[in-house]
Symmetry: C2
Subunit: 252 residues, 2 copies
């Protein structure tokens, strides 16, 4: 964040905050359920430990988050993950242990049975029917493009298409890796796997959708039409219809 | 925000903040361009005034935002819109005037020429190739569903499908209204119109995608398969292939 940009953004953050709260309140286990009132990110970190069913370092949690929940919700930074892990441990919802890999010592984290119960209660309380919150910077740019040259807009679209392709590649890589490790057949991975397949279809649909947007802009506002100046143009002969009431009566 | 939920969410907000900043820094006009360093929401409000080309009350700006930028970026609350309008007026980027509708006095807002130049500079500086930020509460719920009964997950999916349909209906309504008012043919509406068409296709694609997810969950985890218990099941006769090396040599 730039020093000058700070104050101005407060309102904007506050609004996301509001949206987040709306989701968050429903998301929290009912008071008295015996579980602490933790932020969404704590449950995301716990969810990664539980869904992957692994002992993970904080850095590994970050990578796993990017390949999973990052595609449809949010992948926290490592520093943020460490903060939430401390909180989860404090509440007995996760445990840490030190392992030795060669000469290196590493701290790995695992969920506890209490953590698994807490996550279940939290996830079940999620209504899940709230609208999706989307911030699509490219659409904002195009929506506000005014009299910008189409060529400049098309450039931005092409760069964005590259980022979509990169997301598809990463997800396909993660799927291949999961197949290689035999993780996809685990009955416990059915729900996460259904979500991954949804995410992948979304990315391909976005690719197709953006490609049409690109062509629409090129043909409607750019010079793609002019490029076909020597394309044979037949004349259009609209059919002449008789005036109402003057048609011959139909037989039978 | 609940009093108890406050502290815990700080980190999560801060992360969205970071994402926002990443977009925001690129988004801001270069220093020295002569325009003030305003938050994204100020430019969204200004963009609504410019794209609609209307004199609007704060309440009308909110409704227009919901039907436009709200679908792909963010629709601020009226109180927030008022705050940004005050800022825009202070910087000479918007103007207010009082109109009389019957006996009622209303304050309406319009963009100024300076505001239009500032918005153009701001929008052109947007890179537009940043990844989309998506928070999809339903996917989070399903991803974390663990051993939840499929029937409960399907219920949440059905409620969400209703919200997608509602968004489609609203956008179709707004399109019909624009057609009725002859706004769609205005050459200045070409970029915004291309974005609206993209948004509409996105919503229909989401509908189709979620329906497949629903069926995948029902058939893979639910009792849809059992419902077809009396469906004739032919036996599967896998073809027997000769052992490698025992096939007769191919002719010619």
């Amino acid at each position: 964040m730039t020093a000058t940009g700070g104050k101005g953004d407060v309102g904007f953050e506050a609004a996301w905050d509001t949206g987040d709260d709306a989701a968050g309140e429903g998301a929290r286990a009912a008071p008295g359920a015996g579980y602490p009132d933790l932020p969404t990110t704590a449950y995301l970190v716990l969810g990664v430990l539980i869904v992957t069913d692994e002992s993970l370092t904080a850095g590994e949690i970050k990578v796993r988050s990017q390949h999973t929940v990052g595609h449809f919700y949010w992948a926290p930074a490592v520093s943020h993950i460490r903060r939430e892990l401390a909180r989860l441990i404090e509440h007995g919802m996760a445990a840490e242990r030190t392992i030795h890999v060669g000469r290196r010592k590493m701290t790995v984290y695992e969920s506890t049975a209490r953590g698994e119960r807490a996550l279940r209660a939290w996830a079940e309380a999620l209504p899940g029917d709230e609208p999706v919150m989307t911030k699509h910077p490219l659409m904002l740019k195009i929506w506000l493009a005014g009299d910008t040259e189409p060529a400049r807009v098309l450039e931005a679209i092409d760069r964005y298409l590259d980022t979509v392709q990169k997301s598809i590649d990463e997800l396909q890589w993660a799927q291949s890796r999961g197949r290689e490790l035999g993780l996809l057949d685990d009955p416990r991975s059915r729900y996460p796997q259904a979500v991954t397949m949804y995410t992948l279809r979304s990315l391909y649909a976005e690719m197709a959708n953006i490609r049409q947007l690109r062509d629409d802009i090129d043909w409607n506002m750019g010079d793609a039409y002019q490029k076909y100046a020597d394309h044979p143009k037949t004349s259009v002969r609209r059919r002449v219809r008789p005036e109402p009431g003057t048609e011959p009566a139909e037989d039978g």
